[in-house]
Symmetry: C2
Subunit: 399 residues, 2 copies
């Protein structure tokens, strides 16, 4: 049995052989860039007007002679003499002869004469060619996760294809003879399967697809067969249940028989003590507790970090804050606690019903509070580590 | 021209006719529940063992007679006399006659005799039927956004279909004759289109699909035709560019001609001053600036809130924190500022290159800082309002 800190470190040190693939930029949302990208063009590609107004070839007088117009998108580049002006619009190419652009609000037009109402310096309201980036300069570094702004920025440079880290192939297996598919009536002893659908959804929430999602009974031979096949064909196998000490907990036995290399088994934490991490060949295996809230807690704290690392995001964790605890908390036992919490008035509030079998409090939680194993008493107002859940509402300020 | 506070309030007060539809629970991730759901079963459905161990019909002595076994999933319900024990496993149905379950680690078995090493009280390690929820009790309230935990919880109750609020139909139009599709060579005056792909991706990032994504030239007739058609067939039309005062800014003119009801035009903010919000029939129209960083800033601060409201989430905003500013900031002018920022050492750091035409700083930002219009000077260390971006890395604590 290891500590949370040790378990976190083992997860951080997992090594993966990232696979790189080329993809269209428009399909790259959420992927991590696997190359340093250089810009094929300078940006802006020409001296660009930042305003609707008039491009001027400056002279000392307030009146200019209007000689033409350049629309946005136009290739025109009128020759201008000193004291001449050209009507111009935001985003349009400033004529090579022009030295500044004046906002139209600061001008008056009388026939072909433009009167300007302010003293204007050379360069005003012109975005010089290459101001954002020069041709051949690094546009974005390897390791950046591609969000909407990154994709927009690269699209603006004319980049169409990018090399990204592939996401892992993942399969999910929920074990337990008591599990029944929805739509059937429950006999005594049976419950509806919920871990597989929950894990599939938490994967989807975080941008991961699943290859196979299965439910198997507590039967050693079929457990062995299914695990063997899925370990051979996936980068990650996520198992729920069957890893405890019961006579019918076949997951652990099957993983042993398949010679999966154990990285850890059991963590001093509540919920999620009987958690297993191992590797075999190219497959990383997480076996999570069968209790739904424990499984989800382990997913957010460990599995997600490993999946992100595989995908090229080397420093992922849920966003973490340090917030004062609303009420005092007495922790029993020597395990660390992960507590479902809500954030109210910039304080962290521990929700009732923390049992690892109960998902309801998780469903309405904003965050998880981490209480270290050696901290048996936390006073009201004391700062605690809080991880924000993706679905949480965390309005820490008044709106 | 209105203030940011006024603009926020107008967005919050937008009224939509939410549409409700029935969907399979497995397709409900990210949707908002449109009904109070009652539980069709009690949970757990039977007295459930919380441990691997032995179910006991208690008596005063430490030795019990072993008479059978109940596996998880089994319907067996052995009759037990006082002083008898039954082998049992986590999740299995506790026999009706049993009064407690003892962990197997606290026992010893000698033939058919079980010796227990601890004093055990009635009810120990039994999760009573209905402890989590009773049949007919409210399982989840209307208005909850369905995350993985909520979906797992409802699946565990055997619920297969739920009524949810539909998400809006959304189309996106980027305007500008200077815009060129990727793959083509740029002539003088032309730039690559990036707002449409950026807006499509920020919608996807936040769980919204797009109906049509178009790029149109600065031409009044085609602008009018396209807007008219899209307003008639969408819940939201998001436009970028063409809303300023230039002679070829046809978006505003077309919206006027189509008798779109203006809710606001122009906000005292930087970037994003020339922002428009209007409604016609069932369609809500946001016209955003053509500068990409300005458009994205407006999206996160206003458009996303409106889209979430339509989808049944009444109190959405990006998660907000109050953090000390790393360096002092002098704000020029009387507009509020939204600044691309990074979070480092629990401080908010303003990134360089804030120009509304520049997306690069947005691509690497964690958050946006809001500086109110009347706050011209912010000292280092002063608390500022920070909105966390979905793609940001916000590890506010050491890991």
């Amino acid at each position: 049995m290891i500590s949370v800190a040790e378990a976190r470190q083992i997860v951080r040190q997992l090594k993966f052989e990232n696979r790189v693939k080329s993809t269209n930029l428009k399909n790259a949302l959420g992927y991590v860039l696997a190359e340093d990208l250089t810009s094929p063009i300078q940006m802006p590609p020409f001296n660009q007007s930042a305003m609707d107004g008039y491009a001027l070839r400056l002279h000392q007088k307030p009146s200019y002679r209007l000689i033409g117009e350049v629309q946005a998108g136009s290739a025109e580049n009128p020759v201008m003499q000193r004291g001449e002006a050209v009507r111009i619009f935001t985003g349009a190419a400033v004529p090579d002869d022009a030295e500044a652009v004046i906002m139209q609000e600061k001008t008056k037009v009388e026939g072909l004469t433009l009167i300007i109402n302010e003293i204007i310096k050379a360069g005003k309201n012109i975005r010089p060619a290459g101001e954002q980036i020069r041709e051949g300069q690094i546009a974005m570094n390897s390791g950046v996760r591609l969000g909407p702004a990154a994709i927009g920025f690269l699209a603006g440079l004319g980049i169409e294809k990018v090399n990204i880290y592939q996401k892992p192939n993942i399969s999910v297996v929920a074990t337990g003879s008591e599990l029944v598919a929805p739509g059937k009536l429950l006999n005594r002893g049976q419950i509806y399967e919920s871990n597989a659908i929950m894990l599939q959804n938490v994967l989807e929430e975080n941008g991961f697809e699943t290859e196979e999602v299965m439910q198997i009974a507590d039967d050693y031979e079929s457990t062995l067969e299914v695990f063997d096949r899925l370990i051979g064909s996936n980068d990650f196998l996520i198992i729920s249940g069957g890893i405890s000490v019961g006579d019918y907990d076949f997951a652990g036995k099957a993983l042993q028989e398949l010679e999966v290399n154990t990285l850890f088994y059991k963590v001093r934490q509540k919920p999620g003590k009987p958690m297993f991490l191992g590797q075999k060949g190219g497959c990383t295996i997480f076996a999570l507790p069968g209790n739904p809230a424990a499984a989800l807690s382990c997913f957010y704290q460990y599995v997600l970090t490993a999946l992100k690392q595989f995908s090229g995001e080397t420093t992922f964790s849920l966003p973490k804050l340090s917030l004062p605890l609303k009420h005092e908390y007495h922790k029993k036992g020597n395990r660390a606690h992960f507590l479902k919490a809500r954030i109210e008035d910039r304080q962290a509030l521990i929700l009732s019903k923390q049992s690892s079998a109960m998902l309801h409090s998780f469903a309405t939680a904003d965050a998880m509070i981490y209480i270290p194993e050696d901290q048996s008493y936390t006073a009201a107002g004391e700062l605690v580590e809080v991880s924000l859940l993706p679905f949480g509402k965390c309005h820490l300020l008044e709106r």
